[in-house]
């Protein structure tokens, strides 16, 4: 029997490993310092789907930013006064000001929305602040068809528990979302 001495080379010795996996050696650059040679970078190119996803993400982000920036933001306020049968009015259009109301009185302001485009718009109105609890919106979360306009009534009723001489404030956000 022929012995075959299969001589298996043992690659686990440090010397053999240095042959198989050469280790970069620091080089002298003449300044007394050493630096590592440039590593070979394995370039991983972005796949087609990565690019598409990034593009979709960018479009969605731009859309959301547009909706938020285009929303109408109004200040809302109402002042509580004492006495019966007395109303103080402020019909200016800078804010949703319901004026001075005594307990048991109510006031209504209107916002007109005109859709001058060919695209339906989904209208969503949100209210915040102390006045939010006193305010009712007669129409919300609806679609405004192209070339149509609508009037939304904002009503505030001053309850008997309202604090005299208090001013209830808040904000109203009116979003107009293109709705296909």
């Amino acid at each position: 029997m022929e012995e075959q001495n299969i001589k298996q080379e043992n690659t686990n010795t440090p010397a053999k490993q240095a042959e198989v996996y050469p280790v970069a050696q620091p080089e002298a650059d003449g300044t007394g310092e050493t630096k590592m040679p440039k590593e070979e970078k394995i370039k991983k190119r972005m796949s087609k789907w990565d690019k598409i996803l990034i593009a979709i993400f960018a479009v969605i982000l731009i859309f959301i930013l547009y909706i938020v920036l285009d929303a109408n933001k109004y200040s809302a306020m109402v002042h509580v006064v004492e006495g019966e049968g007395k109303v103080g009015i402020n019909p200016t259009t800078e804010a949703l000001d319901f004026g001075d109301l005594s307990r048991g009185t109510s006031a209504v302001r209107q916002v007109t929305i005109e859709n001058g485009t060919f695209v339906p718009m989904y209208i969503a109105v949100f209210k915040t602040g102390e006045i939010g609890g006193l305010m009712e919106i007669d129409d919300n979360f609806f679609t405004l068809r192209p070339r149509e306009d609508v009037q939304i009534d904002f009503s505030v009723y001053m309850p008997a528990s309202a604090e005299i001489d208090a001013t209830y404030k808040g904000r109203v956000f009116l979003f107009k979302i293109p709705w296909l």
Binding site: F57, D70, K86, N90, T93, R109, V111, E114, T117, L174
Partner: protein, 233 residues
């Protein structure tokens, strides 16, 4: 990792750069406008005349002025407000709770009883019998620019609308209104001086037209008064 950061920064940069372009685009193409109207409707506190008797006469007052915010010195863009006083049928509290105050008011205004003489008419389930024809709106008119309405009138006629004007820079910054009730009588139960009672308050009224059916005796009548701003300048 660096590449991903770079891509993210590019996306954000493109987004920020496109915002003004969007603004220009939106102004010319996407034309959706929302604006606050200068209309303001104010409903004064409910005033209760209580139990009244035919041909009784009662008064109560309402004062209309500017709010503190309008009266502020910083607010100098407008100073004069024109308004009108409208009368509308009054919905019952249960009906308001059922479908909402605004809807209830709208329903009572847009509908009328099939048989006004029947207290069990379906209309009266939701709305009070109307007190509006018997209410006058009389301005004390210190500023001389208000127009009142006498009692015994058609509340839906355009001529039955009281008007007023208040001026922030005027001598009198507010209007005092007297809302008086001339209580009607019931058919076949009116006093002999009923005609004089009616024409004494409104010479143009037909006394026969303002007698109530006896079936409505003991009913509670109601009327909503609304102060509506029509113009500011």
């Amino acid at each position: 990792m660096k590449k991903k950061l770079l891509v993210g920064l590019v996306v954000i940069g493109v987004t920020l750069a496109s915002i003004p372009m969007f603004g220009a685009f939106e102004a010319h193409v996407i034309n959706v406008v929302a604006q606050i109207e200068n209309a303001l409707y104010v409903h004064p506190e409910s005033r209760n005349f209580g139990t009244v008797f035919p041909q009784e006469y009662q008064e109560m007052g309402i004062f209309v002025t500017f709010s503190e915010s309008f009266s502020a010195t910083e607010q100098d863009r407008v100073s004069i407000v024109d308004y009108i006083i409208k009368q509308k049928p009054k919905p019952r509290a249960e009906f308001k709770a059922q479908i909402g105050t605004d809807e209830a008011r709208r329903w009572c205004h847009d509908n009328s009883p099939a048989d006004p003489n029947d207290p069990n008419d379906a209309y009266y389930v939701n709305c009070y019998p109307s007190l509006c024809p018997y209410l006058s709106k009389t301005p004390l008119n210190f500023d001389g620019n208000d127009t009142g309405i006498p009692p015994f009138h058609d509340p839906f006629a355009t001529s039955s609308i009281a008007t007023g004007t208040i001026d922030k820079n005027g001598v009198v910054v507010g209007d005092n209104w007297i809302v008086d009730l001339a209580v009607p009588c019931f058919e076949n139960h009116c006093a002999q001086d009923w005609n004089d009672f009616v024409t004494g308050h409104n010479p143009d009224a037909d006394p026969e037209a303002y007698k109530l059916p006896i079936e409505l005796e003991h009913e509670v009548f109601g009327c909503d008064l609304w102060f509506e701003v029509t113009d500011i300048y």
